[in-house]
């Protein structure tokens, strides 16, 4: 097991009022797993993703990652986990605009202090079909191409888990399908667990399990 949410709740205090976002969430993710978190806007999907990735701490309950309680790790240990154990893909791609496609893919490996970084990054670009665009800046690429670079970056350190927040939300249908295929192909080939946040039920249906949220609560856990 890579990740486990145990009785996780999250609330924010605004003007002395407690605003519950998530309540009593429980689930596990295993190696090579694929899980979708679905629900309407404001149901707490993104908050749950942030808690699972250690970007935020739960108000109550624990998130276990590799057997460690994420909230108990210091900033440096969390950075190391984000670098070597987690991959991220975002709706808006979030590539670094001043870096080329190759350099964007190199960044996580460089932070990890890996060797032969450029060759390995090139291999990843090749796997997502963008070897020829390696020297291009994000502004010179289409949305689909940018997302493929983001996928290559997310897989660069071959993390055991990958979080994707609405990965096809900014793309047209054809491009979306190609990105989805790529994600699931890499999920299968590299054994990386895939956690998808989406409101696209067709995409959610491609994952092995699904967690449905409504008003911050888990309605059901389904195997698809």
């Amino acid at each position: 097991m890579i990740l486990e949410c145990r009785n996780v709740s999250k609330s924010y205090t605004r003007n002395q009022d407690k605003l519950p976002i998530l309540e009593d969430i429980n689930f596990c993710i295993y190696e090579g797993d694929s899980l979708s978190i679905v629900g309407p806007s404001g149901s707490g999907k993104t908050t749950l993703l942030a808690l699972c990735a250690g970007l935020d701490d739960p108000t109550t309950g624990e998130v276990y990652f590799d057997g460690h309680v994420l909230a108990q790790l210091n900033e440096r240990e969390r950075s190391r986990i984000r670098n070597q154990r987690i991959g991220f893909i975002f709706q808006s791609f979030h590539l670094i605009p001043s870096l080329t496609a190759l350099e964007n893919v190199m960044v996580p490996m460089e932070i990890a202090g890996a060797i032969d970084v450029a060759t390995r990054a090139m291999e990843w670009l090749d796997r997502v079909g963008l070897a020829e665009r390696s020297t291009h800046l994000p502004s010179q690429m289409s949305g689909g191409e940018q997302q493929r670079v983001a996928i290559a970056r997310a897989f660069a350190n071959t993390p055991p888990i990958l979080f994707a927040d609405e990965p096809t939300g900014n793309l047209d249908d054809t491009t979306s399908h190609r990105i989805e295929d790529l994600l699931f192909q890499l999920n299968r080939e590299s054994g990386t667990a895939l956690v998808l946040v989406t409101h696209d039920l067709t995409l959610a249906a491609r994952t092995s399990r699904s967690v449905q949220l409504s008003g911050g609560r888990m309605l059901e856990r389904t195997a698809t």
Partner: protein, 835 residues
């Protein structure tokens, strides 16, 4: 660390132009600091290299009475001595008939011992030792009056042939020739001029060249009492260097103030630009944090960006400063008594560059401290606020303040001056920020619904988030303030002289009139259609005792001991005089044996630390008289009329040796010149000054000083201008997006243009008005408190400047958003979404 460096290098690759534009704001400040530092080192080095030339001798003894070389205490002086006599006299140039008041000098012996009189032709100085009466005349005066070597000049009763032009006198600034043109004649010819009579104002100077075994300072110190008792002053190389050093320190402080002010202003500007940049970097920082970079690594990358901006600014500014180092000596040379050599002072360049770099870096890094601990959650929740004031930001702010203080203190001659400089700048900037803030706040209430949409929208845009309106307001008002303050002060100084020299008021002042010449001079004036004024008597005297005690026992400035008081007597006070304490006594019947009630001018009373009822004793050319202060007067010295520190009542000094001053009105310069020619011919001992010519001289000196000041002010104004440009340019995107939304909603090009124009016009009008108000206040304080003159607001200057500043601001703003209507709407909206 390698990765951090790689990331900085990668960012520089694509963003160097942006970084260069950010750094532009500090370029001027760095340039000013490098130029000032280099110039100051050049001058100090010249002062050391030419220290003996500054004096022309090892020791100078001066007195207003003939120096008796048989005095026993002068016996131990080295034998190589030279005597100079100097006095003011009218010089009449025979070829043109023009007359001028000149400083006549006659030298006996080998002075100057260090350095030499430079003349054209070069050998002209040797002509003074010939048998014929020859003269050397200041080159400036010869050019002005179109006089050539070989022409003749009359001084008193003697006609001299002009042997050549005086180009340079060791230890004297070139500008001295404009203020008081000098004529050198042979010592043996002085008596023939018949100008040295009893009561004449003559200065005697003994110059001594000493062997290395003789210590001039020790001699001066050990003979202090003898010198003081004989009213002699002494000057040595060390003393001259110290006095000059003090004066130059003031100059360097002023230049430094401009440099530091420009750098701090630029620093604030660059900080403001970097703030915008840092905000735009939040997403990238969050991405880096998401892929595992620690906040330390992110912080290091941002420090690299800050260092790059600071370094670019410093390099560009240093290049500019090195260029300015070559220009500054040429601008200030005329004011300095030594020759400056133009070369680059690399030590100074390095020192100033490092100081500038640290200051620029402190300002550039400040905005990053707020964002480098950005949480990676920003990528998922863009609304999540970065911590309001993280601890790193507090520390960075404190460090920035510490660096500003340290650099300012390091660049100041003393800590006290440095602290005053910082305090003054902080107060000025704080005041400007408060006023700018209030103006912006007030502008909200101007959005009346009766105004057209474009104007309402333009004013509303001043409050647009990230608009940097405050920065633009400060930048424009700083430029307006600096220029308006400078112009208004200049107009006030010149205005005073213009009033004094007007055709309706007395504009020709005659000095040194003997009692028996008064009637003839009045007749000559009437004959030449001049209106003669009253003859004012002047009696020369020295202060000997205060409240019965000799002066050396009183704690008063040394100069007051040697001061020759030129007192007058009359029954009535003038309109320019006001009694502020005691009572004016118009007539005294007790004669010179009694205690005479006098009136003292307020500033000299303060210097002497005396008031009404205190007693002062004077030596009136050998006769002691005792007085009591009956009243203290305030005198309007700007009236340019003969005024006196000490005023006696009638009935006391009428029989004392005295000369007269007379003010006259000459309607035109031609009438004045014609009268002066006849005056010099008939009464060669009488000197005359036409206030209109004096006005030209004052204006000439001010113009020369202005050029130097303007050169340095250029850096300050340039810094503010660059802050304005970068502030407007950096907020270009906000304007672009808003204009595009308006276009998407169907606004035509003309409406978009009107909205932008209204915004720039509102910014320009508010900031120019702010700058003018502050400049009026500043110039009023300078004119009334520092120069003690009456203040006049010059409306045309203010209007002219307001038009220029408003036009420039609108123009810079328009250029920064030029072509906004040509960009496709979707391109802009898409880029906004992607950002």
């Amino acid at each position: 660390m390698n990765w951090v460096w790689r990331m900085v290098r990668r960012d520089l690759r694509t963003q160097w132009l942006k970084f260069l534009s950010f750094s532009a704001a500090v370029v001027m400040g760095v340039g000013a600091l490098v130029a000032t530092e280099g110039f100051s080192l050049t001058v100090k080095q010249a002062m050391v290299d030419q220290s003996k030339t500054l004096l022309g001798a090892d020791l100078l003894i001066s007195s207003n009475n003939p120096i008796d070389l048989n005095e026993p205490f002068l016996a131990d002086l080295p034998p190589e001595q030279s005597l100079t006599i100097s006095f003011a006299s009218m010089a009449r140039f025979e070829s043109t008939g023009e007359t001028r008041l000149a400083r006549v000098r006659a030298i006996e012996g080998g002075f100057p011992y260090y350095g030499s009189l430079e003349t054209r032709p070069a050998q002209a100085v040797s002509a003074l030792s010939g048998s014929e009466p020859m003269a050397l005349v200041d080159e400036g005066l010869m050019t002005q009056l179109d006089v050539k070597p070989g022409d003749r000049v009359s001084i008193g009763a003697t006609s001299f042939e002009i042997a050549g032009a005086l180009l340079k006198i060791p230890g004297e600034a070139a500008l001295a020739s404009s203020v008081g043109p000098r004529i050198y004649i042979s010592y043996g010819d002085v008596n023939q001029t018949e100008l040295l009579q009893k009561g004449s104002r003559v200065n005697y100077r003994l110059a001594i060249k000493a062997p290395s075994s003789f210590n001039a300072d020790t001699w001066a110190e050990s003979h202090k009492e003898q010198l003081e008792s004989r009213n002699m002053s002494v000057d040595t190389v060390a003393k001259r260097r110290e006095n000059l050093g003090e004066a130059l320190d003031n100059l360097f402080t002023f230049l430094n103030l401009i440099g530091i002010a420009a750098l701090i202003l630029g620093g604030i500007g660059v900080s403001s630009s970097m703030y915008m940049y840092a905000k735009s970097k939040i997403k990238v920082i969050a991405v880096l944090r998401c892929v595992g970079a620690t906040s330390g690594q992110v912080g290091s990358i941002l420090l690299g960006h800050a260092a790059a901006v600071a370094l670019l600014g410093t390099v560009a500014g240093t290049a500019m400063g090195i260029g300015a180092q070559h220009l500054l000596p040429g601008l200030i040379q005329e004011f300095l008594p030594m020759q400056l050599e133009t070369h680059i002072e690399w030590t100074a360049v390095l020192r100033a560059s490092l100081a500038s770099l640290s200051l620029a870096f402190a300002f550039t890094v400040l905005p990053f401290s707020k964002v480098w601990s950005t949480s990676p959650i920003q990528l998922l929740r863009s609304g999540t606020e970065v911590a309001k004031r993280p601890r790193s930001q507090r520390w960075t702010l404190l460090t920035t303040v510490a660096v500003v203080i340290a650099v300012t203190l390091a660049q100041s001659p003393s800590w006290g001056l440095g602290i005053s400089m910082l305090a003054a700048f902080a107060i000025a900037l704080g005041l400007m920020s408060i006023v700018a803030y209030l103006v912006l706040k007030l502008s909200r209430s101007l959005r009346s619904k009766s105004l057209p949409f474009s104007v309402r929208q333009g004013i509303a845009n001043l409050h647009r988030p990230n608009n940097q309106s405050l920065m633009v307001l400060i930048a424009v008002s700083v430029v307006t303030f600096a220029v308006a303050n400078h112009l208004l002060v200049h107009h006030n100084i010149i205005g005073q002289f213009q009033d004094a020299a007007s055709a309706e008021r007395p504009n020709l002042i005659l000095f040194d009139i003997q009692a028996d010449q008064r009637g003839a001079i009045d007749a000559l004036a009437v004959e030449n259609a001049l209106v003669p004024g009253e003859s004012i008597p002047m009696v020369t005297m020295r202060l000997t005792h205060r409240d019965g005690k000799p002066l050396h026992e009183a704690e008063i400035p040394e100069w007051a001991l040697r001061w020759e008081y030129r007192a007058s007597y009359r029954a009535m006070l003038r309109p320019t005089e006001t009694v502020i304490e005691g009572q004016w006594i118009s007539r005294f019947a007790g004669g010179i044996e009694g205690v005479i009630p006098i009136s003292l001018e307020s500033s000299i009373a303060k210097t002497l630390a005396v008031g009404v009822g205190d007693k002062l004793s004077f030596d009136v050319q050998g006769i002691p008289i005792h007085t009591e202060i009956a009243s203290i007067r305030e005198v309007d010295w700007q009236s340019m009329q003969p005024n006196f520190y000490v005023l006696f009542p009638e009935g006391v000094l009428e029989d004392a040796p005295q000369i007269f001053i007379q003010a006259m009105n000459a309607p035109t310069l031609e009438q004045s010149a014609q009268f002066q020619r006849k005056l010099v011919h008939d009464h060669p001992n009488v000197s005359a000054v036409d206030l209109r010519l004096l006005l030209r001289t004052v204006d000439d000196v001010i113009q020369k000083a202005r050029t130097a000041i303007q050169f340095m002010a250029f850096f300050f104004i340039g810094a503010a201008f660059l802050v304005l440009v970068t502030s407007l340019y950096n907020t270009r995107n906000e304007r672009l997006q808003e204009s595009t939304i308006l276009r998407a909603l169907g606004a035509p090009r003309s409406l978009v243009t009107r909205v932008l124009a209204s915004e720039y016009l509102a910014l320009a009008v508010f900031s120019t008005a702010m700058g003018l108000v502050l400049a009026t206040l500043g110039s009023y304080l300078i004119v009334t408190r520092l120069l003690h003159m009456n203040y006049q607001f010059h409306v045309p200057t203010a209007l002219w400047l307001a038009c220029v500043m408003i036009s420039v601001t609108v123009l810079v703003g328009s250029v920064s958003t030029w072509g906004v209507w040509r960009l496709p709407v979707m391109t802009v909206l898409k880029s906004e979404k992607d950002a």
